[in-house]
Symmetry: C2
Subunit: 505 residues, 2 copies
Amino acid sequence: MSAPKAEKKSPRIQPRAPRGFADRDPGDIAATARMMETIRTVYERYGFEAVETPFVEYTDALGKFLPDQDRPNEGVFSFQDDDEQWLSLRYDLTAPLARHVAENFDKLPKPYRSYRAGWVFRNEKPGPGRFRQFMQFDADTVGASSVAADAEVCMMAADTMEALGIKRGDYVIKVNNRKILDGVMEAIGLGGEENAGRRLTVLRAIDKLDRLGVDGVKQLLGPGRKDESGDFTKGAALEPWQTEIVLDFEIEYGENSFTGITPGWNKEPIQSGLELKREGSFDLLEIQGLVRAAGYGPDRIRIDPSVVRGLEYYTGPVFECELTFEVKDEDGKPVRFGSVGGGGRYDGLVSRFRSEPVPATGFSIGVSRLVSALKAIGSPIVTGANVAGPVVVLVMDKDRVGDYQKMVAELRGANIRAEMYLGDSGMKAQMKYADRRNSPCVIIQGSNEKQAGEVQIKDLIEGAKQADAYRSNAEYRAARLAQFSCKEDEIVARVRELLTAHGIA
Amino acid sequence: MSAPKAEKKSPRIQPRAPRGFADRDPGDIAATARMMETIRTVYERYGFEAVETPFVEYTDALGKFLPDQDRPNEGVFSFQDDDEQWLSLRYDLTAPLARHVAENFDKLPKPYRSYRAGWVFRNEKPGPGRFRQFMQFDADTVGASSVAADAEVCMMAADTMEALGIKRGDYVIKVNNRKILDGVMEAIGLGGEENAGRRLTVLRAIDKLDRLGVDGVKQLLGPGRKDESGDFTKGAALEPWQTEIVLDFEIEYGENSFTGITPGWNKEPIQSGLELKREGSFDLLEIQGLVRAAGYGPDRIRIDPSVVRGLEYYTGPVFECELTFEVKDEDGKPVRFGSVGGGGRYDGLVSRFRSEPVPATGFSIGVSRLVSALKAIGSPIVTGANVAGPVVVLVMDKDRVGDYQKMVAELRGANIRAEMYLGDSGMKAQMKYADRRNSPCVIIQGSNEKQAGEVQIKDLIEGAKQADAYRSNAEYRAARLAQFSCKEDEIVARVRELLTAHGIA
């Protein structure tokens, strides 16, 4: 007879999830599902409808818009199909949506509002809390060039935060416009396709103004910066006069309340970026007007020049949803919770596939970041009561598993979570198993009970309470606490009584 | 000024999902979600708990257990990590679960019951209805060697079908045992590791007995078979005497009701597989006894020798959930709906990672197959009423989008699905858009209404009914059917009345 496969001798394999990939436990799965259901409700109320795309796309259809797009083969997991075409795992949900809309353009209503939640993949160096697979929840409006679409997305993001129980004042949707930043780039001579990579380095440097301050950003705009750990980040290599214009603009724009035209700008001799910048400013004023008209004050949605967004495909307004309440960092220092999502206008992404321009805008939530935030504020959406485990029917006599199976089937038939113990261990281990499963009670039928047509029901919740009063385990067991017998045909009724008494059923 | 990205001139990319990958529409997403919620409820009632693993695993941790495992680099999408280790997209949910359990062995209760739904990937030739990404819904019990665990999984599968509205008699859980088949393989000299590939070819040939009949399977067991289209499938190249034993066994076992020992077996001179086969038969008898004790008759769960299952990792009982009602095939001929799921015992999969044996068994549902089945029987779980679209506020005057935005915000604030038209088109196109969105009504405010502090509400549902009575569109429009005016501050109340009247709110 051949050896069963379980005993096959082969070198043992190390069981481990790949670096940057993680398993999810029941609590995390349930919390995330409840949170996403709340988000879904808000998005539906705004008239958005669900649509989903596959995890794999043709590499050329996705395009490369990640921050590290200038290093080929990085950022994205790619592999070749048997017909030599390159495939990639999606790195966000926006690029695949653009492909979907372009492919089904004539069938879709325009403007087309849609939403989707899904896992995305980044081929990056993993680290603590930095995963290579994570979930996003996106909403997009395609086919609307009006900034009313951008304003709507910002209001929807604000409503979502409040629906999730994040108090007004604890979040803010910050809005900026890439056109303004692009205007500044023009002004310092960094316009044009050939400077795309360097523009992104400058934008990413500006993005760090909050964290590194003016001096740190000045280094990143210039030769580069060495951080406290000694790691060196290459800079954008701007000339001092270019750095000065960028910082001048950022600081003045930031310190003054937004008025449409940044004070101080006109003193600059370089005017080439002015038109684009002015256009961007007007867009922002219009968004501001629309959200104010709908009753969203600056405590909820406001213009903020520090918002950049790392992806290269944005062409107009960009948004960031920041949680402003404080949490403790690893060193116990209080820090702002920070960003849980963002987005912006990407008018070029769909038109890559079409001869006509197709405007689009959208917003993306980082799902696990937002779950963490809801945990931090103790939101009932993600905490949830600890769910009681199943009733466990113990196996006292292995020849009678049919009898035990019948009891379990009756309990399940009455909609009561129940299971028969399926292992090989004795009474003590079975009780331990029931404890570990958080069972409300166990059903016991040894040969004596069988002869009497009865079972013992042991109430583990009540038992745990009474156990505290006993000095030793032995004394406790001897007392046979919280245990009662009943007839075989009363099991369902008595178990239901017990569950009701504990507020479970 | 730099050209906006939308106008960038670059070669146009063809928008297409990769071969074998598909997008999902709102109806499919909603139907699948409702179906999975029902399955989840049954699994929870059986005491199973949710756990999920990532999409990517180390290739060596997954192992190669697919039907085409003898052709390397096929069946699985794989790519190399930056540290040279090979990664693969999971091809099922069982191999990753085995890794998860092995990695967290000491933390988990044993036996460990868990469930998960998730997408899996197969690098196979795509075809009509044959996808390279599809969803499975799995439940597994790890750490129980008793066939009571197998019996439980079969009963849970039966309960799931009934919870989904599939009538008793329209489904059957068929159970076989790989040990019996392995015994037959022993008997014809195909035991041992070196014959694993050929055994699988034989098993896959047996699997086709229903479809191809004895003669077809005889060809597949021997030199091979050419089908009607002229395609040739290589055979298992058995000698005639081997083929005879296999077919003898299958046919006699199949035609007789199961009695534990197959009639006719003893007449064979080759006895080496007998012990394994007998062991397998006793396992099946025990499963039969357990499910009958729990009240599951042969109309729901029965022994069937034709069940094989294509995956190589099964070591004991194997199950198949077959839907027996008829549907029409492409040619309009009635055919049985067929399999929507299956599973079995895989005692070797977890122990690949550990020095001790770890028994396990599980069941996997093909989610989109099951959705199709529920559609075929018209189950309300997947059909669902056509959901009404959002209320659309028309944009009559582009300078007053702020006013329209305010109306929309009020409607949404009252939990009414609503949106402002975001496109650039005129009144007629906006009405067409509202129709396409399945809107119950539109809100109209031109300059006259604005001056009077009023809006027009047009009831599109009532309007559509009345429209049938008119001969021409022009006549219909002139009648201004199902349209009424109200004060600006009454919008929410009047819209809610309208929705309630149509049974929507």
